[in-house]
């Protein structure tokens, strides 16, 4: 037995005692990845055998795969043996049952992030599933939702309470071997959210999850699964933040959406992972696989994302338009300041007849930031009368940053119609001077111009989050000029 396995064995025996690297409230698995770690995670979560097998299969596939390097981002080698794959704020046995039981320190952290859970609960009518590192801390509003049959809970809970749902859909949109990071996630994912909206139900409130990476040297690998049954509707928002740390942290999430006949899923992200400092030290490596399947006729999936954080962003929320007359949308604002690098875009795969997709991408680069839009539109043979509209705008602030556009188009049905527009502009000295002449400070002027540039996308966000996103764009650009 290797020494790593020995130590895990010891840990498993000693349960929550010594052996764990436990600071005040955190529990970790020792760093490194092997089959025993996968078993450890699965055991921690008391998962059924089939899920453990699923994870192990993913792990074995992952071993055979290579980290993709085709994106226009450069970063140092990631040492996958130097990362912790499990960190929990508390042992599962005494997980909080309600907000009152949540560590006040933790709530204070959320408070700082501008997510006052208590307030949200009462005022905004938003049900929040907060994922702190790897474990879902608390899910509010569960009761109200369950009255209409909506399932909204952490992934681990859903595995226990609705195993048939998980078994049916897990990996159905993003197969374990889809890509390197998806395979890694499938092997080690620790928690996340699950949503199921029953037939004909319009989810009575916005559902929202906040992710936060807190522990040092820890990867976050959460999974989200949203299934909208026939004729249902749901709007879902995820927000992400991480504290400042000097070393890079890995985030590799998987999100799977399934929209059945006449169902609609609106998925919005405001991503503000720590971007690193102005010299590129620290920050989150964000490698995320998000994909939606428009399974049924007339189904619709909209992705809206505001990406201001992370040192590296590698993310292509996509839609598979399988049902006839289904619709896919992608609205994106991505901002790279300082040394941030973002390679992001979408893939629209048209399979069904009369399928439609819209892509609006707004890239903002400042400082030494690098920004690549990478988008693919694929019209398959059966997709008669498919339509795609792509608009891809880049805004440059200063002369050390860069913007790149990489569109891929693959058309196999001649009845389809595609339109593509792209622009690149620079915030002009004349625009800034005009604003300042009217009394606006330079940074406010930049923020105003950027928000104007991003408006088409911001207006797709739910109201309260649009305001948040607007502020975020301003804050992220501090120091971008002058």
């Amino acid at each position: 037995m290797s020494s790593a396995t020995e130590s895990i064995d010891a840990i498993l025996k000693k349960k929550y005692d010594a052996g764990f690297i436990t600071d005040i409230e955190q529990e970790y698995a020792p760093p490194g990845l092997n089959e025993d770690i996968v078993r450890f995670i699965s055991a921690k979560k008391e998962e059924p055998e089939w899920l453990l097998e699923w994870r192990l299969k993913a792990y074995r596939r992952w071993l055979e795969m290579k980290e993709p390097r085709w994106a226009k981002v450069s970063y140092p080698e990631i040492d996958y043996q130097d990362i912790c794959y499990y960190a929990a704020p508390k042992s599962k046995d005494d997980a909080p049952k309600s907000l009152d039981e949540v560590d006040p320190e933790l709530l204070a952290t959320y408070e700082k992030l501008g997510i006052p859970l208590h307030e949200r609960e009462v005022l905004a009518g938003v049900a929040v599933d907060a994922v702190f590192d790897s474990v879902s801390v608390t899910t509010t509003f569960r009761k109200k939702l369950s009255e209409v049959g909506v399932i909204f809970m952490s992934f681990s809970e859903a595995v226990q309470e609705h195993p048939e749902l998980i078994r049916k859909y897990l990996g159905s949109v993003v197969p374990v071997s889809d890509n390197f990071f998806a395979a890694l996630n499938s092997a080690v994912f620790s928690d996340g959210s699950v949503v199921y909206i029953p037939k004909g139900v319009r989810c009575p409130m916005e559902l929202s999850t906040y992710f936060r990476i807190n522990a040092a040297k820890t990867g976050q690998f959460e999974r989200t699964l949203i299934v909208a049954d026939e004729g249902s509707y749901v709007s879902y928002l995820e927000g992400c933040t991480a504290p400042m740390r000097d070393e890079n942290q890995l985030h590799a999430a998987v999100v799977e959406l399934v929209a059945h006949k006449d169902a609609q899923i609106k998925y919005s992200t405001v991503q503000n992972w720590y971007p690193g400092d102005e010299n590129g030290k620290g920050g989150i490596f964000n490698f995320v696989t998000k994909r939606g399947l428009c399974e049924g006729e007339r189904s619709k999936i909209s992705w809206t994302q505001v990406e201001t954080g992370s040192a590296i962003t590698w993310k292509y929320p996509s839609c598979i338009l399988k049902g006839d007359d289904s619709i896919g949308e992608f609205y994106s604002v991505a901002l790279s300041n300082h040394r941030q690098q973002a390679d992001t875009g979408t893939k629209m795969i048209h399979l069904g007849k009369n399928t439609k997709s819209t892509i609006i991408s707004k890239g903002i680069s400042a400082g030494h930031g690098q920004q690549t839009y990478r988008g693919g539109v694929k019209i398959m043979r059966g997709a008669s009368n498919a339509r795609n509209y792509t608009q891809c705008d880049s805004l440059l602030i200063g002369d050390k940053c860069g913007a790149h556009t990489v569109p891929y188009v693959d058309v196999r049905n001649s009845t389809s119609k595609l339109e593509h527009e792209a622009t690149t502009s620079r915030i002009g000295e004349d625009q800034l001077f005009y604003c300042r002449q009217r009394g606006l400070a330079e940074e406010d002027a930049v923020s105003l111009i950027v928000n104007g540039f991003a408006k088409e996308v911001l207006k797709e966000l739910p109201m309260e989050f649009a305001v948040e996103a607007q502020k975020l764009l301003g804050v992220s650009l501090e120091g971008a000029v002058g």
């Binding site: 005009y434 009217r438 009394g439 606006l440 406010d444 540039f453």
Partner: protein, 250 residues
């Protein structure tokens, strides 16, 4: 109010203004006329604090303070307004949102509370009425797709909203049809008062029929070569600049 003394300005190493001296008292309206490229806009930009205009000599005092030391937004907050010859567009930012941000930034500088949405809209309605700016233009993105005349009208609307102490209007009349010219001139006249000074840059004496200036200056090749009353503008309109130009040849 504004005291310019022996002002020399370089752009990209080229001297554009070669010793301007000008004194504008509160309540006065001065007009500046001069051929293309003589430095009129340069003067306006220097007063507003645009980057890239280097003052190599001379001074500008505004309300007793050294104007040249202030950031552009501070000048604005202190009451300097420039109506641009070529107003720029800011796509995606509504005119009204822009102006509210500007007005409240200025109010903050002055220690006043920000105007709330209701008071702001009331003020906006009143001022837009003054220059007959259609309501929908206040809601559209700043100058985005505006016609030439609409842009100029928008400048005057903004000026009316911000109520500056010193308004510099750079060819606000260019591109206006005759009716619009009257409307804009009325808007400007409505703002005339003992507390305000104006510097009106124009090529056409026609504007000065409506905005009657106290003093008219002729700027040629970076120098003020003649100063007179409103009749000087009439004479220029009749004879062109050649006579003045000849008069200054050594």
């Amino acid at each position: 109010m504004l005291k310019i003394e022996d002002l020399h300005v370089e752009v990209d190493g080229k001297t554009i203004l070669k010793g301007i001296t000008l004194d504008i008292a509160a309540g006065e309206v001065h007009a500046i006329m001069g051929p293309n490229g003589s430095g009129k806009s340069t003067l306006a930009y220097v007063l507003a604090g645009r980057e890239g205009y280097e003052v190599t000599k001379g001074s500008v005092t505004y309300k007793g303070q050294n104007l040249l030391e202030m950031e552009p937004e501070i000048r604005a907050a202190e009451g300097v307004f420039l109506g641009f010859q070529y107003p720029v567009a800011i796509p995606g930012v509504s005119n009204i949102y822009f102006l509210k941000a500007a007005l409240n930034a200025i109010r903050k500088h002055r220690g006043q509370d920000p105007l709330d949405a209701i008071d702001f809209m009331k003020l906006s309605k009143e001022k837009a009425g003054l220059v007959q700016l259609p309501d929908q233009l206040t809601k559209r993105s700043v100058n985005d797709g505006f016609s030439g005349g609409e842009k100029k009208r928008n400048e005057i609307y903004q000026m009316a909203m911000l109520e500056p102490s010193l308004a510099i209007l750079d060819e606000t009349d260019s591109g206006l049809d005759i009716d619009a010219l009257k409307v804009v001139a009325e808007g400007v006249n409505a703002l005339r008062g003992p507390e305000r000074a104006m510097l009106v840059i124009t090529h056409y004496q026609r504007l000065l029929d409506y905005i009657v200036p106290d003093v008219v200056h002729v700027l040629i090749d970076g120098r003020i070569v003649r100063t007179g009353d409103k009749n000087l503008a009439k004479q220029l309109e009749r004879d062109g600049y050649s006579e003045v130009r000849d008069a200054i040849q050594p």
